[in-house]
Amino acid sequence: MDYFANLVASGLIFGSLYGLIAIGFAVIYKTTGVVNFAQGEVMMFVLYFSWMVGTFVAAPLWLLLLIAIVVGGAFGALLERVFIRPMIGQSQFSIIMTTVGVAIVLRGLVPIFWGVESEPIDAPLKSQLYEFGPVMMLGDQIFALALFVAISAAAWAFFRFSRVGVAMRAAAHDETAALLMGINVRRLQGLSWMIASAVSGVAGVCYALIVARAPDMWQIGFQAFPAAILGGLDSPLGSAFGAVVVGIAASLSEGYIGYGLKEISGFVIIIAVLMVRPYGLFGEKELERV
């Protein structure tokens, strides 16, 4: 039983990392209809870059987080401006292939600039151990979990209540109608890239804190993408929830069945779920009048 509980807790922690990336997928998809296949790579690049800046100013963890958010936002804006905006009017497929290209370039750049060694973040948080019944968690894990919960809630509230968030949903639903409302759709699309990349920056810091920074950390995208699909690619909160499911499933399958299953369990789940619910668990289904 203790083993089970600890596997679930570990799944939850990794799920929260997947979740932050999955929210990034969902925010961009929801607003622009584009799947950004570079989400994991963006996380990695933003983390490395922020780390460099952070080291320079000897930043404590909270400041590193802030730097990652700012760097993430700026980098998202840059990507959108340079690679995505000029593609407006091209087919969805070519835009998605562009994001794949960006992903591959970023994977190549990181080791060139920062080497291939993996390095953990040193933070006082990491040495604090907390016990919840049979479950033990480290301070950095709780920190990541708390950030994940806070950002999921914020993303949900943003799309549900804020004027800009609702306008982003409107633009995703019907771009022409949104334009006719006087909504500057292109600006919102740029903003969605900024938000997604900033959240990815947070994910990067959490990842480096819990595991380490490493030039293969982009692979987290392989868990986050099925998580986003599972929850509904157009639903940030659903994607976050999907990530928790994928994280726990990965942890359990690895713990009980064997190593290697962790990587594929997410895809196994989505194949099973999408057969029943093609829009994901929380995706917005086209409404039909009855």
Binding site: I88, G89, R163, V166, A167, R169, A170, H173, D174, E175, T176, A177, A178, L179, L180, M181, G182, I183, N184, V185, E284, L287, R289
Partner: protein
């Protein structure tokens, strides 16, 4: 012209190959109510999309000509700037955000407004359409067609536009609802001085409601004049008002006594 919409020699292509509007000029004076008529595919919606700068999502492009409003050139402006200039369009098929509530739709219509103005705008729209107020928490996609059209018009009126463009507001609605909608449009025009440009398939209705009308065919304006004159025009009667004495429908442009439209020099 102050407060007037002036479309001059506009030409629009889709995908760089399909010419949907060619050399169209049209004017909507301040406080006027103007109808745009024409058969399916004549280019009416395309012209309205060009005015509102929403061609690009459909790969459409304004190749030639200019669009001015209140003396200001709006030709290369973005859609949000057109709205800010006071020109708001209710598109064909209403295009509500169907998964959102009625009130969320209305609030989106007031996207650019300050909070206080938005509240005042909502109240004004609810006062104008009590039915919309009743349904304000309902999901927009589940309303009846008539209710949806009222939401669409309300959504356009929230920001107090100066020129309201309506693309086939009667589409798919029962005759009584259509009359209600046009009563509202006429009232807005008469009481608030709102300029109106609307597309309508029913020529009789369009000519009865409007002061001036343009008739489009194959991307061109083939006839225009005061609505009362057009209603009495034998050709219009024959081709649009269904009073022909038999024989196949010909194009208006094939007629001998086709009145040539004066051209503007761009």
């Amino acid at each position: 012209m102050s407060g007037a919409l002036e479309v001059l020699n506009v030409q629009v292509f889709y995908n760089d190959v399909i010419e949907a509007v060619r050399d169209v000029s049209l004017t909507v004076g301040k406080g006027r109510i103007v109808a745009l008529l024409g058969a399916n595919g004549a280019g009416k919606s395309t012209l309205l999309k060009a005015i509102s700068a929403v061609l690009y999502p459909e790969e459409g492009r304004l190749i030639h000509g200019s669009i001015r409003y209140d003396g200001v050139d709006l030709t290369a402006r973005n859609a949000d700037e057109i709205v800010a200039a006071g020109i708001v369009q209710v598109p064909e098929g209403r295009r509500l955000f169907e998964t959102m509530t009625v009130e969320e739709n209305l609030r989106l219509g007031g996207y650019a407004l300050a909070a206080a103005e938005l509240g005042e705008g909502l109240e004004r729209v609810y006062a104008m359409f009590p039915r919309v107020r009743e349904k304000r928490h309902a999901v927009a996609g589940l309303l009846s067609g008539g209710e949806q059209q009222m939401v669409a018009i309300g959504r356009a009126l929230i920001g107090r536009p100066k020129l309201l463009i309506l693309d086939e507001p009667s589409l798919g609605l029962a005759p009584q609802i259509v009359r209600d909608i046009f009563d509202i449009v006429k009232r807005l025009n008469a009481e608030e001085g709102l300029s109106i440009l609307f597309v309508e398939q029913n020529a009789r209705l369009a000519l009865a409601v409007s002061e001036y009308a343009y008739i489009m065919e194959n991307g061109r304006i083939v006839l225009d004049g005061p609505s009362a004159d057009l209603a009495g025009n034998a050709d219009i009667q024959e081709f649009y008002l269904g009073q022909a004495k038999g024989g196949e429908r010909k194009s208006l442009r094939d007629l001998k006594h086709y009145k040539r439209r004066k051209r503007w020099l761009a």
